[in-house]
Structures are given as structure tokens and as C-alpha cells.
Symmetry: C2
Subunit: 191 residues, 2 copies
Amino acid sequence: MQHFEQLFTSFDPAKAEIAGAATTQRFLSDLRGCFADGNAYDAALSSGNPPIYHVASIEPGCDSGDLHLGIGLVLPGRIGSEYYMTKGHFHSWREAAEVYIGLRGDGVMLLENESNGQCQLLPLQPNRIVYVPGHTAHRTINIGAAPLTYLGIYPAKAGHDYGASAARSFRHVVIERDGRPLMLERSTLLL
Amino acid sequence: MQHFEQLFTSFDPAKAEIAGAATTQRFLSDLRGCFADGNAYDAALSSGNPPIYHVASIEPGCDSGDLHLGIGLVLPGRIGSEYYMTKGHFHSWREAAEVYIGLRGDGVMLLENESNGQCQLLPLQPNRIVYVPGHTAHRTINIGAAPLTYLGIYPAKAGHDYGASAARSFRHVVIERDGRPLMLERSTLLL
């Protein structure tokens, strides 16, 4: 339990950086399997390995009542017709929810419930809140022309499960059609 | 457990309002006992009962992994030399932490640890984060000339204990001296 040590910090909502926190960068090569259009993915990767998103977090305590806070930035871009996005994850502790707060840019979150299969595509924009309940895989997607940045707050013991929620376990894909995002079942895609 | 109902909303960072959430207003008369200078309090109350702060919250779920989110606005002003502030509270579930995010204005948070008596005065400003650990009474104080607004995210089962943490249990007072906030032990005040 951390008391009265570093209990305050600042963040940059445009750069998605937290003072004193290390940033983890994810490149296109880290997202193998996430994009449904494998040909478009291979073609993009053959001409470079661009950064797609980065995250940073602070973990002030690890007791049962503690919270962690992360900040993220997803760059604008597409692989074929699919927008740049995060890998997405479940929480290892499945009951753990997460509060997302949009800071900059224009995004959506893809939510897929593990228990009942329901899914939603919700707007993530400045001054908007998305509540990710427990048992829900969630992914952040940039549908705009500028970087998308956001905060996420979650129970300290949530943990991140990228294995169960790797791209293949998302049953839906978000593509650009006529300038707007469209959510489709992955199985219906003819690529 | 609430799944896939109202999982997104918006907030107004200037007005400290959340779409769809009721706002609770606190007036000077609600803060009896909070200000150390009883004479200044009575004098202020005799000439009116101004609003001091208001809060609103959303509670999307109440399971062990759920989170709640609140928004607050403290008006600028003073009672004697003490700044306008919130009542302050512990969490009923003492282990529960809280993440505060500054939105507008210039504020500080007074933190007093129940276990070891340590206290801190931390800045609460736009793009700044204050982490309130468990077992810590916390109060928000506006030291600026404009409204102070902020978000707070906490475990759903945190609860609010205003009884134990009513003003009298804060051992420190924050006053204005030479234009800046000064934290003093309440017992040392000669009013």
C-alpha cells in the first residue's frame, strides 16, 4: 500500500503521456491477426512497420480497493478498410469494469460481452464517457483524421488478458464505408 | 449487473454536469461545522445562504468489479480566510481509493490518512491527477477566482462516509494567506 508518496501527477491530453510513466509503443507488426484483411495487412507491413498506438499507465497501489489509470493514443489510419485500433483485451479478473474518458480526436469502442455475446459500438470523443462492464472484451478504434486520445481507469487487480481477447476472439470488425464506421460480423466479410 | 444498456454518456467540464445524471447542490447551511471560523460562518449565513458546490454521479453497476464516476464543481469564494470547499468524506469501504482528474479552475485537495495521521495538500488543476488512497479523508478546495471542476472515479462499493469524516475530523484547515493557500493544524488557529 502506497500512502503519501507520489499521489499526484499530470498528463498531456494531446500526446497521451503521463509525467513519470513509461510509454509502451505498439507497431503494425504487433497487431498480427487483429485486422481481418490479411492481404491488406501483409501489403502494409511490406512497405514499413508504422506505429499504431501507444499506452502508459500509473499504478499507485495494488490493494483490493486501489485503482490504476492508463492513457492511450491511437494514430489515424487504415489497413484496407479497417481503422487503426488497439489489440483489445479482457480483464484477467473478469468482473473488473473500466471507465474510459475521451480526450482528443474521434473514436469508437467495440465492446463484446463474453457471457451473452452482445456487442456494441460506442462513441469515444472529448468529454464523453464509455463504461466497459465486466466480462467484456474492449477495443479502441480511431475513426478520425487526427490522433485519438483517452484515459482509462480500472480496478488495480483487473489485469489485462490479451490472450483470450486477441483479435481473433472479436467477432466483429469495424470498417470505413462512405466515410463512416460500420460494424460487421467478421464471418460475413468477403475479403 | 447492467450490460449494454446506457454505457456511454457525456459531461460538461465547465458546468460539471453529466447527461442524464441528477445534480446535488450544497449550500452554505449544509456545511455547518466545516469552517473553522464559526463567527465568519455565522456572519456569512446571516446575509444569505449561497451555493458552495454541487456534485453528480453515474452508477452503471454495483458488482464488486464495477466503478462509479462523479463530477463536482466548487464555486470560488471564502468564509473568513478559508476557501470554499466540499464537506469531504471517507469511503465507507475504507480500502477504496479514488482517482480525481482536474477539469477547470485552480484547486487543491486536502488528504488526511486515518491510520497514520499523515496529511497532504495536493494541486487539483486541468490535466492533473490526484490519487486518494484508501483510509484517507479527502476534501476539494477552490483556491482560484473561477469555478473548480473535476471528475472522480471510485469502486462501486466505496460508499461515502460523511459522518466519520465530517469537517470536525479534518485536523487541518486551508486558509488564504498572501494570495496563496496555507495548510494549518486546526488546533493552532487563533480565530
